[in-house]
Symmetry: C2
Subunit: 548 residues, 2 copies
C-alpha cells in the first residue's frame, strides 16, 4: 500500500500530472453518460469518479489503472434498480449506492479471504461474448436518445445533432490519430489527442446549445447539475437490501473480471506484477468509497486506463490528480454542464461501446476450437435474450460446462516399448512392442470427480479389447493430483480387477501424489505393485508370467 | 433396448420372480411413506411404482436398478409444491405429476443430446453432504408424525406406537441379519429377510389398529386408498408451469445423480457396463410415465436396488413383476391399507433415511483432503440452512469452486539434467545439473482458462529468481490440451519475453497438441524454437550461447 509514494521520484511528476488532466477531460462526458446509462442523474457519475479512484490508489495493485464508471457495470446497475425505482429518481440514487456497497463489501471480503481465483470462472471467449452482448444492448438502448425519439416519431433537430456527432466521432476514431501523426505529432500524443475528441464534441454541443435555439426546439439536455462536493453518508436506510443482494454480487464479479482484464493488459505493457487479491481489495475499497459519496458501482476500464497509461501515467498519483480536477469542476460553476445535449452524449456512448466489439477472439477460436465459438455465441445470445444478469450466470455455466465436458474426455494412451530401449510410447504414434499379458496405459490428466468416471470407463474398454491381459499398468507420470472422488473410484477399480484376477500396478507415481496416497485403502489393498518406472514394471511382470 | 429379453434364459426366471415379489413387499410401505414425505396422498406412491419401473425396464441401462419413489426426491417434490398447494390436496397431486413431467422431459432431452457428462458436476463429498443434509431434514420432519404431536403436546398412544416401531426397526436393522445367519440362513437370504422388516412392522401396526381401540384414541392412519389402477392422463392444465420449471430441473439433476450412483454400485457388482446417456433416457421415460399415471418424480434408489439384486434379480423382468404385483394390490381390496398407522410409517421413513447417513467418505477425506471435508460440510449445512433446492446449487458451486481453486495452483517443476544422461528431473527431488542461461520448466497440467493466469504468474516468478536466464524451455509432455484462453495467454507471454530478449522454446509437445497449434499466431511468432526433446533443446541452446 502506497509503496509507490515512498519511492516517488520527481521525473515521474510531469507524466502523472498530464495523464491526470487528460483522463479528467475524458471523464467528464464519460462519467455523466454512464450515469445516464445507469438510470441516474448525471452528477452521480462525477461523484463516482472522485473518491473511488483515490481509494483504489491507496489499496489497489495496478499503477496505471483508472477506476470509475464503466458502460457494462452501468447497464447492470440500471437492470438491478429499474424494477425498484424510476430512472433519475432520488430512490434510484440511494439504491445505486447500496448496490456499490454490496459489490464493494463482497469484493473486500473476497480479497481478505484471498479468493482471487474467482477470476478464473470465466473463459476469455465467454467474457468476450458477455462484453459484446452487453455493448449491443447499451448501444441499442441509446438509439432513441440519439434520435430524440418518442415512438413512433423522431425529433429531427435531435437526430441531426446526434447522428452528426456520431459521424464525427466515428470518423475521428478511425482516422484522426493517423492524420495527427502525419501532421508530425508523436504516435502516443496523437493517440491521446484522438481520445479527447468526445470531450471536444461535447463542448461543441454545449456551445451549439448556448448559441442557437436548439433547446427551444426541444433538444433535451443533461439539466442542472448541483454544484459542490458529494455529501458523505452510507445509504443503509432504504428497504431494498434483499432484491439488490444477488445483482450486487453479480456486479461485483463482473467488476473484478473487467478490472483484472484491464489491469492485466496494462501490466503486460509495464512488466508489472499484478496480485489478484490486492486488486479485489482495491476495487472493494473503491466501491465502498463510491457508496459513501453517492455514486454507483465502479471498476477499472480498459480504454480509460489505456489513455491514462499512454498520456504518461506512471503511478496512481495521476488518478488522484484526475479526482482533484473533477472535484474542482464540481466546486466551480457547473451551469455550462446543464446545456450538455443528450443526443451528443448518446453518440459518445455508442462510439465507446462499439469499441468493445472486439471479435478477434472469435476469429481465432473459429480456427482453433469451435467449442469456444459456441460458448461465445451462447453467452452473447444469453445477454441479448435473457438480459445482462442472466448473461453472467449463463457465462459461468458455459465456462464450467465446457470444462466438465472436456474433462469427461480425458486422453489415455496405450503404451508399448520402443524395441531395445527403456522408453514407452503411444502405440498409435510409434512402432513399439507390446505383450499380450500386460496392458500399459498412460493417463494424461489429473484425476478428479469430473473425469474419473470417463477414465474408469476407458480402462474397462481397453481391458475388453485386450482380453488376454492379466496385468494392468497405469503410468501415472502425468498425474499430479488425485482428489477424494477419484481415490474412491480407483479403489473400486482395484476391487473389480481383483475379482477378475487382473493385477493393478502403478508406475512412475509422482512424489507428492505418492506421499498423499500412503495410508489410503487404495494402496493398502492394491492388487499389484508400485514401480519406479514403466520399464521396471514390465520387466518384472514378464518374469512373474514366465514363472507362472 | 430389451436386448435382455432376446437373450432371456429360463434359469433366470426364479431369481427375477422372487426378487420382484420381495421388492413389491418392500415397496408398499416405502411408496406410501414417500408419498407422505412428498405431501401427497399415499396412493400416489403406489401409482409412481407401477408404470415407471416398466418404462425404465424398456429404456434404462441397468439390469437390476429398481426405479420408484425415493426419500430425497420426495422431499424435493414437497419443497417445490408446498408453496403452491396444500399437502394432500388434489392440486398438489397435479403439480407433482407436472414436476415429474418437467424432470422427465429434461432427462430425456439430456439423454438424446448425449449430455451424460452432467453427472460430473458433483464431486462425491458434495453428493454425500447433500444426501446427509437431506436425510436429516426428512428425519426431523417425521418426528412430529412419529410422536403424533400437535405442538406443544404429544399424543401418548401415537408416540408409544411410533417409538416402539422405531426401536424394533433399529434393532432389527442392526442385529436381525446376523441373528438369521447364526440360525442357519444363507447370508444373502438373511440380508433380504431383514429388509422385509419394515413390511412386517407395518403389517403388525395394521393388525394392532384393527384389533385394538388405538384408532378411537386418536392414532392417525393413512386413510382410505382408492382401489383400481391409475387413470392415464397428462396433467398439463394447471397454471403453475413457471414456478415448477426450476425445481423440476434441479429434481431431474438429482434424479440422475442418485440413480447413476445406485446403478454404478450395482454395475460394479455385476461387471456390467453402464451408459450414462441410456440411463438419462431410461429415467426420463420413467418420469414421464409417472407423470402420465398420477405419480410424482421417481429415481433408482440404492437400498431398494440392492435388495432387488440380493434377492436374485438378473434382468429388468423383476421390476416388471414388482409393478404387476403392485397393480394387483390396487385391484384387490385396499381396505386393509387404510388402517396403516402414520406413526409406524414415520418410523420406517426415519430408519430408511438414517441409512443414508454414510460418513465413511468424511473419514477418508479428513485424512486425504481437508478441502473435500469443507465442501462436504458446506453442502450439508447449505441443505439444512437454506433448504434442499439451494443445497443443490451450493453443491454445484462448491464442486466447481474446488475445481477452479485447485486448477489455480498448478504444479510446475524446474528441471535439470541428470549428469551424463538425457533425462531431466525436478531440481527439488533429484541431484541434477542446471545452466544459468537456460531455465527449463515442466508444466504438469492441461492449459485452460482456469489455470493459465497462475501458470503465467509462476513462470514470471521463476524468471525473476533465475535472472540470468536468456532461454525459457517449456517441457510440454504433460500438456494434452490448450484452450483458446490459454493460447492467448501463451501468445502474450511470448510477446513479453520477446521484448525482454528472452527466448521461448517448447519441447516435447504432444502430437495432437502440436497439430492444433500449427497455424496459430503463437507458433508463427514464437520467439524461439520447437524441440523434440528437452535434451536436444538444451544441447542446442548451449551451442547458441557458446557461439554468441
Amino acid at each position: 500500500m502506497l509503496h509507490w509514494l515512498k519511492h516517488y521520484r520527481r521525473p515521474l511528476l510531469v507524466g502523472d500530472l498530464s495523464a491526470g488532466l487528460v483522463v479528467a477531460m475524458m471523464m467528464i462526458p464519460q462519467a455523466t453518460a454512464y450515469a445516464l446509462v445507469a438510470g441516474l442523474p448525471p452528477v452521480a457519475g462525477l461523484y463516482a469518479s472522485i473518491l473511488p479512484p483515490i481509494a483504489y490508489a491507496l489499496f489497489g495493485s495496478s499503477m496505471t489503472q483508472s477506476v470509475g464508471p464503466m458502460a457494462i457495470i452501468a447497464l447492470m446497475t440500471s437492470t438491478a434498480i429499474a424494477p425498484l425505482a424510476p430512472a433519475g429518481s432520488a430512490l434510484a440514487g440511494v439504491l445505486a449506492a447500496q448496490l456499490a456497497l454490496i459489490s464493494g463489501a463482497a469484493l473486500l471480503l473476497c480479497g481478505l479471504l484471498r479468493m482471487g481465483f474467482l477470476a478464473n470462472f470465466f473463459s476469455r471467449p465467454v467474457m468476450s461474448g458477455f462484453t459484446v452482448g452487453s455493448a449491443l444492448v447499451i448501444a441499442f438502448n441509446q438509439l432513441h436518445t440519439l434520435l430524440g425519439a418518442e415512438p413512433p416519431h423522431l425529433h429531427l433537430p435531435s437526430a441531426v445533432l446526434g447522428v452528426g456527432a456520431l459521424i464525427v466521432l466515428v470518423l475521428s476514431r478511425l482516422y484522426l490519430a493517423g492524420l495527427l501523426k502525419r501532421c508530425g505529432l508523436k504516435p502516443a500524443a496523437a493517440d491521446v489527442a484522438a481520445k479527447l475528441m468526445p470531450m471536444m464534441v461535447v463542448l461543441a454541443g454545449i456551445a451549439l446549445m448556448a448559441t442557437t435555439s436548439l433547446g427551444e426546439q426541444g433538444v433535451r439536455t443533461a439539466g442542472a447539475i448541483p454544484g459542490g462536493l458529494p455529501h458523505l453518508n452510507l445509504a443503509t436506510s432504504a428497504p431494498h437490501w434483499k432484491p439488490l443482494l444477488q445483482p450486487g454480487l453479480l456486479i461485483g464479479f463482473i467488476i473484478f473480471l473487467t478490472s483484472m482484464s484491464s489491469a492485466q493488459s496494462l501490466a503486460l505493457k509495464r512488466n508489472e506484477k499484478l496480485v489478484s487479491n490486492h486488486e479485489l481489495v482495491g476495487l472493494g475499497a473503491a466501491n465502498v468509497a463510491s457508496a459513501l459519496s453517492g455514486g454507483f458501482p465502479v471498476t477499472g476500464g480498459l480504454s480509460r486506463s489505456a489513455v491514462n497509461y499512454a498520456a504518461g501515467a506512471h503511478t496512481p498519483l495521476s488518478s488522484i490528480v484526475t479526482a482533484a480536477l473533477l472535484a474542482a469542476a464540481l466546486i466551480a460553476p457547473t451551469g455550462w454542464l446543464a446545456l450538455l445535449p443528450l443526443p451528443v452524449l448518446a453518440a459518445t456512448i455508442i462510439v465507446a461501446v462499439l469499441g468493445l466489439l472486439e471479435l478477434d477472439i472469435v476469429r481465432t477460436a473459429w480456427q482453433y476450437d469451435r467449442g469456444d465459438v459456441l460458448a461465445w455465441a451462447a453467452t452473447c445470445l444469453g445477454v441479448l435474450a435473457l438480459g445482462v444478469e442472466a448473461g453472467v450466470v449463463v457465462g459461468v455455466a458455459l465456462s464450467m460446462g465446457t470444462l466438465i465436458w472436456r474433462a469427461s474426455r480425458p486422453h489415455i494412451a496405450v503404451l508399448g516399448r520402443i524395441a531395445g530401449t527403456e522408453h514407452f510410447r503411444n502405440v498409435e504414434r510409434y512402432p513399439v512392442e507390446t505383450r499380450p499379458e500386460t496392458l500399459v496405459l498412460r493417463i494424461d490428466a489429473n484425476l478428479f470427480f469430473g473425469n474419473m468416471e470417463a477414465v474408469a470407463g476407458r480402462i474397462e474398454c481397453e481391458l475388453a479389447t485386450h482380453a488376454s491381459a492379466r496385468h494392468l499398468v497405469l503410468v501415472m507420470s502425468p498425474v499430479s493430483s488425485i482428489d477424494t472422488t477419484a481415490l474412491y473410484e480407483l479403489a473400486e477399480l482395484n476391487q473389480r480387477l481383483k475379482r477378475r484376477g487382473i493385477g493393478l500396478h502403478l508406475a512412475e507415481v509422482k512424489g507428492p501424489v505418492l506421499d498423499r496416497l500412503r495410508g489410503t485403502t487404495l494402496l493398502r489393498e492394491l492388487n499389484g505393485q508400485l514401480f519406479l518406472s514403466t520399464a521396471i514394471a514390465c520387466d518384472h511382470l514378464q518374469t512373474v508370467k514366465d514363472v507362472a
